[in-house]
Symmetry: C2
Subunit: 204 residues, 2 copies
DNA sequence: TGTACATCAGTGAACGCGCGTTCACTGATGTAC
DNA sequence: TGTACATCAGTGAACGCGCGTTCACTGATGTAC
């Protein structure tokens, strides 16, 4: 058993987890503070002992999401070392895996309408995640002749955009109309992109 | 002056346009039927003369969005002919232009949580848009040796995902943290991708 | 160990609000003669 | 052209609902002596 606080014990985290479940189940709109409180077996008013209000609760859920996200991608990146290419591809796969495994966090982070600058903590977590991706891109781009090397931040923005687009269009509402799995789509897309940068053999 | 109906005249369309403005201004969550009615200078109850309810109003806005979207992309595609490459690139640019020019429609189409299968009309409009993109991809892929040619639907899914990702991450909240314009980001991304397919000279 | 006290997490009732939706109605518009 | 009638788009009042938030409180937990 985890350590308990005075009464409920870890109500703060229980509220966040309840909120995540609700967001996951009903979308960013479906989340209400009252229902999250109910999920945690507590009166709506109790929420105000731990959060300034509804938005703050979502912001904290998003922050935790960004922390996990950055950790996961950092880990994937490290694991792919010393090959810059392998490290980069692993990071891309980690992206999709995260969106699949933690849909509530993903929605809170990217679809809830929360500004990343709402709190300093959220901004920092988001910046860290961005940093990991950019570092992976910067590493990889050293293999490209300097004259035709795109800026690492552009490079990572391309991959981030492609990944996010695949998640939003093809990984929601399982298998709506796509004949390919999101994983295949992302992997082939990244492969073609990297080939375009001359990082993979043209006829590999 | 446009033709007027009995009382208000074109209340139906006025409601849709009011809804679009609200969605544009306050996000998909910020839209309420009552406020849309107010915008059109009408009682909330009047809405029910024209729509089954709130969701139906959004669905119709999304449908009109898909129609415009498909038209625009079809037009861009035709204009780029007979060069398959030019046609394809124009279609990509049209995507971003649409998202920029009609944010309300874009949000209703992709971010409102409305299922594309909510009404047959909406599903048809969405399918038509998808068809235009796939046709462009199919045309272009004839220039790739058959053995290494990816399926056209995968091809167009990559480009759609990249475009959507750029819109969602970098074209909202004008210039949050990106050092590049969404247009540049999308254009360079598509360029690198097409190079990866061997459709552009490696050192062009 | 036992008692008195302080802390503070969670309660429960209440609030004002705007929502989506319903209903019987009204009165401007269009039509038949 | 003028009158009587039918249509039906929009009204206005009402509804039940769940929301986020506030407040004085209570009572379990932890602490000092």
């Amino acid at each position: 058993m985890a350590k308990r606080g005075y009464h409920h014990g870890n109500l703060r985290q229980a509220l966040i987890e309840g909120a995540l479940k609700l967001i996951e189940a009903k979308g960013p709109t479906g989340f209400t503070l009252s229902e999250a409180a109910k999920t945690a077996g507590v009166t709506p008013a109790a929420v105000y002992r731990h959060f300034a209000g509804r938005e703050d609760l979502i912001a904290e859920a998003a922050r935790q999401g960004f922390e996990m996200f950055a950790d996961l991608m950092q880990y994937a990146f490290d694991k792919g070392q010393p090959s810059a290419l392998a490290a980069f591809e692993a990071t891309g796969r980690a992206y999709l895996a995260f969106a699949r495994k933690h849909p509530g966090h993903y929605i809170a982070m990217f679809e809830s309408g929360i500004s990343v600058n709402r709190t300093p903590e959220l901004a920092a977590a988001s910046a860290r995640a961005r940093g990991v991706l950019e570092k992976a891109a910067a590493n990889l781009s050293e293999h490209i002749p300097e004259s035709k090397r795109p800026p690492a931040s552009m490079f990572s923005a391309h991959i981030w955009a492609l990944s996010h687009g695949v998640v939003e269009l093809y990984a929601r509402n399982a298998g709506a109309t796509a004949p390919f799995s999101p994983e295949d789509l992302l992997e082939t897309g990244i492969g073609i992109y990297l080939r375009g940068l001359g990082l993979i053999e043209p006829d590999a």
